[in-house]
């Protein structure tokens, strides 16, 4: 059904197999820092117009691959598609973040929640298939979802937050409601990701973007446990191919030993984590993805190259030869900034490829 894969570097690194260079892709690589993205978005009329149209989603997903020799593509979509399909009414006001018309703040609202009909998310699965076809085997396609906890943050707060007061008030005051919501989210996310896999996603990633705002103890109970529940329900093979699973908890570096026990292949790390120390703490169980500070990309290219080499060297020499061993997938520690000069991304990708080849020579 799909063309054979020509560059399997990313998938091999996910499975802790040797590659001739360290693969790189960037969180939010299809985005506002690219003028061609802004042009497509203008034609689409709005962010949701872009995200819900498989043609536009395909177009913007492929844009960064035309500019840079990236080793993977990631579905262009939003992390809040699932609660939107639950009927919470997602919108994006101009120049602002996402907002839900009907946030979930009391027992009655939680009682009304249910795993959404996946037909309402057909546009996402259609985009996955369309992108996979358009990629034509160039690089693998990553599908994704927000984690149950991260979705719950937005569902309760109704928008971004700087203190998470409403969602944590529910967590500490009515943990029963929070658990009910997370249970529904976990089931919905698993069904959603499995449908992306069936539609053509060759790896999947859970963005636990707000796991790091939780207290020790609460993180394990309200984020990690539901991430694990999702992972346990995911297809690990499709069409005879392994489907690697990546978990990224921003601010989760302090809980690495516990995250190492997750049933996934890759752990994403933000820039606060030293990759060499992370290797030692995680042991021979996971590939590591990350972790350059996106703000490095505002420095001149020579300084970018220095910082990129520092991150690669902090990981150390990746596995070479047969079997499995330590591998890194290069990425930023968070999404790329909309203010990034596009030519600086060239310096980043070039240095990752060249220096990581040197590390192996």
């Amino acid at each position: 059904m799909f063309a054979p894969l020509q560059n399997d570097t990313f998938l091999r690194a996910c499975l802790r197999q040797a590659t001739d260079h360290t693969p790189i892709w960037l969180m939010r690589q299809a985005g506002r820092y690219l003028p061609e993205y802004r042009a497509t978005r203008a034609r689409a009329g709005s962010f949701m117009g872009l995200a819900t149209n498989p043609g536009y989603a395909t177009e913007v997903t492929l844009q960064p691959l035309e500019r840079y020799p990236l080793d993977a593509a990631i579905l262009f979509s939003d992390i809040l598609t699932v609660p939107d399909a639950m009927g919470l009414g997602l919108s994006f006001a101009l120049g602002e973040g996402p907002r839900f018309a009907t946030p979930v703040r009391d027992e009655a609202a939680v009682a009304r929640l249910a795993v959404p009909d996946m037909d309402k998310l057909r546009y996402v699965f259609d985009a996955v298939t369309s992108i996979r076809r358009a990629l034509n085997g160039r690089v693998p396609l990553i599908g994704f979802s927000g984690s149950p906890w991260t979705l719950a943050c937005y569902m309760v707060e109704g928008q971004g937050s700087d203190d998470y007061r409403l969602v944590k008030s529910m967590l500490y005051g009515r943990p029963d409601l929070m658990h009910r919501m997370l249970q529904i989210n976990a089931t919905a996310v698993a069904v959603y990701l499995n449908a992306q896999i069936e539609a053509g996603a060759q790896a999947v990633m859970l963005f636990d973007s707000w796991g790091g705002v939780l207290a020790d103890g609460a993180f394990q109970e309200f984020s990690l446990a539901y991430t694990q529940q999702v992972l346990g329900q995911l297809k690990t093979e499709h069409d005879g191919q392994r489907i690697p699973r990546i978990v990224f908890t921003k601010g989760g570096g302090i809980w690495l030993e516990q995250m190492a026990g997750l049933d996934c292949e890759v752990l994403g790390l933000d820039w606060t984590v030293n990759l060499g120390q992370a290797r030692a703490r995680v042991g021979d169980r996971k590939a590591l993805q990350g972790n350059l500070d996106p703000n490095v990309l505002f420095a001149p290219p020579a300084a970018i190259a220095t910082e990129v080499r520092r991150v690669l060297d902090s990981f150390g020499t990746p596995h070479q030869g047969a079997g499995q061993g330590p591998t890194q997938i290069f990425n930023l520690g968070h999404g790329i900034s909309q203010h990034t000069p596009p030519e600086h991304v060239s310096a980043l990708v070039e240095t990752v490829h060249s220096h990581s080849r040197l590390q192996r020579s």
Copy 2:
């Protein structure tokens, strides 16, 4: 000059000496959640009117002590007094955070920076002496400053930030300018804290509120090194009394082993850190301060008590008997929210005192 201290529980715990209960104070304990604070602020006309008037500063510093049996007072002031004295023009727009009229964004602006004349900060030292007198020996008084890096964040950004793009652009693009600014900040902060000690502060705290946004490597070079530089210049005794030094890096839990090497008595921890694990990582070198999530205070009192006991139990039984051993100073993991119901703070303080006595019985 000052009345003898009646409650030395906080100071003893800072020095890792046994106490009959775990002392507690709260970051931002004199603040907007208290109606009496809002009344004083209304009389003062503005936040800066409040902070620069020793009479008002004394009044609000003592307000939480009238309501709760807290074990320490902390100077009411702002962390940006030092850059304001450097001439950057601090102001607080209604309902917004701090803002500098002339942020420091280029080589010329950095070249103009100098350690300010401490006479411009006389209102702070006067407030310290006035508060110490008004306390009349009830509990010790903590002085404080922002860390060199945290001050630099505000000085470059000119206001709060959610991505620290400007300050990190300077850090990665012109590290020489960043080091020059941090060097000036470190000297200024040390002089400032020593003047607070001479004015009557019985302990001092460095708020490295934004250290946790730095990448591994950058944290050590641009935050930790300058915190250490400040610490090395501080008076460790005054009037025959030890002056404990507290360092709090929000989001710094991942670097605890390195922070354990700082020349200070106490490390402050945010709520992501497990106190038992922190004890093991820090070893027998520091008292630990923290670390309840401030959002716990939105739950009903019974749930607050449960979470407080969990935090105390995660630390384990504190040192008893002669000599030094592991001690905790209870606190929140960050400043108390302005939305906190004041009566919930009573439940917090009561539970810390009663449960920590039980732990010792």
